[in-house]
């Protein structure tokens, strides 16, 4: 009984929250304009499914493209600054500076350069997910045990050989952990960009729905985002287990 409860507890909690939400709205008589009930949101989702679909697709597309570019850039930068103390000390302050700029503030600049639409969303999704990847990968590489490095150096291993055989594999658990964070951040990035400047995407759809007081549709948009975010997170969690199971000592 107990192990089964442990496994089902998270699902029970989620269902419980929705039931409580439903009952609370009914009991308190809360207006649909403020907080629609979950059943109303679900109904709105099916009612507008045809309209939602292209927006969801657009958001998924910009998120994934931005994410892929972000991973490429983040991984390369992480390897670069992780494998050289000089590069680390030189580039880190700049990276911290860039990462501390609220990303919503750079969207207008992207719009200025590339016009409203897909490109700013991709760029925002990309730029928002680079930093956690860089930090994780460079940490993994820079914290190779000094003894291990001495063993490799005493074998006259070249720097790239140490990086390839020790540094990179060692940083993979950090890398995959950062991917889970990065994919959810990418969603944030593209939705922000869509909300500020786009005529497509879930963010834009929610903006329009709220301006016409179609609150259940706004919440349906939120639900779509949540489902997409959770799904991608889960996919990367599975990949992580497959690729770096050794770090969890479960092989």
């Amino acid at each position: 009984m107990k192990p089964i409860f442990r496994k089902t507890a998270p699902a029970l909690l989620i269902v419980g929250v929705f039931v409580f939400w439903e009952l609370f709205c009914l009991a308190a008589g809360i207006s649909e304009l403020v907080l629609p009930r979950p059943t109303r949101i679900l109904a709105a989702f099916f009612e507008y499914a045809h309209a939602i679909w292209p927006h969801a697709w657009q958001t998924l597309y910009t998120t994934l493209v931005g994410f892929v570019f972000g991973v490429g850039i983040g991984l390369s930068l992480g390897v670069l600054i992780g494998s050289s103390k000089l590069a680390y000390d030189t580039a880190y302050p700049l990276l911290v500076g860039i990462s501390s700029i609220p990303k919503v503030a750079v969207v207008p600049i992207f719009v200025l350069w590339f016009g409203a639409g897909t490109v700013p969303a991709i760029l925002t999704a990309m730029i928002i997910c680079i930093f956690p990847i860089v930090v994780n990968v460079s940490t993994g590489i820079a914290t190779v045990e000094p003894e291990l490095e001495d063993v490799m150096r005493s074998l006259k291993a070249k720097r790239w050989e140490i990086l390839w055989n020790v540094g990179l594999p060692r940083s993979m658990p950090y890398f995959f952990a950062s991917l889970k964070v990065a994919i959810t951040l990418s969603f944030v990035g593209s939705v922000i960009a869509e909300t500020v400047a786009s005529n497509k995407g879930v963010g834009n759809m929610m903006l329009i729905a709220s301006s016409s007081f179609n609150v259940p549709l706004v919440f349906a948009g939120l639900m779509v985002l949540a489902v997409m975010g959770i799904t991608l997170y889960a996919i990367f969690a599975v990949i992580e287990r497959r690729m770096v199971g050794w770090a969890l000592r479960k092989q």
Binding site: E145, E147, L148
Partner: protein, 271 residues
Amino acid sequence: MSNARYVELEKVGVTFGQGTETTEALQPTSLKIAKGDFLALVGPSGCGKSTILKLISELLPPTTGNIFFGGRELGANPVRVGMAFQSASLLPWMSVRDNIMLPLKIVPPFKAGFRAKKEGEYRERADALLAQVGLEDFADKSPWQLSGGMMQRANLCRALIHDPDLLLLDEPFGALDQFTREELWQTMQDLWIERKPTVILVTHDLREAAYLANRICVMSPRPGRIVDDRQVAFPRPRPIDLTFQADFGTLVQELRSLIVHAPKEKKAVTV
């Protein structure tokens, strides 16, 4: 090439730091090591024992003096070195066997054939070595499935797989319990008797030095210099019971008093 001067340190000194903030780690030291010898360096911590290993393995350049290997200056010809430290630092994403084969991937001439031979010749080589240290059943395990003593056995295998000219051991048994440590001493002795590598062992365990080595150099506190250099004549293979015999105890006592009563900080002789 003279075998008695396989490795030669000629007035080698090491100073860390620059300008006025300098620390002398090693006083100008001269040392000759014969081919196939088993030398132990003992001394108080921070005396520069490990520094000597780092010099010979080219991890650290000497501040003064010259190091020769096989009659030629170090760096002129590649010296094949195997190193093992106190932490086994096996790579957790590889099997024990793959860990041991790592040097073959890096060191010429083995690296040239690595792709072709890693499933054949090299694999057999690794398995033979693992069998020799009693790890034949653990080749496919992950490093974290081994005990501390087993990890050090694997660590020794990794240091020996590429038939190094020099085996440099930096307190490899330091973190083990007494029983495991003594088992490892015997394994180490067997490996040495069979392969006859030139070994330099850094340790602060005097019994370990007396049991394993042919020759013991005692070093003074920092800045280190060699204050005593003696041969250890016990016949091989040495049984572990040897460590309870009177003349073994006497040797350990003598080494101990040399270290305890070593003259404190002495001004370095400038050359």
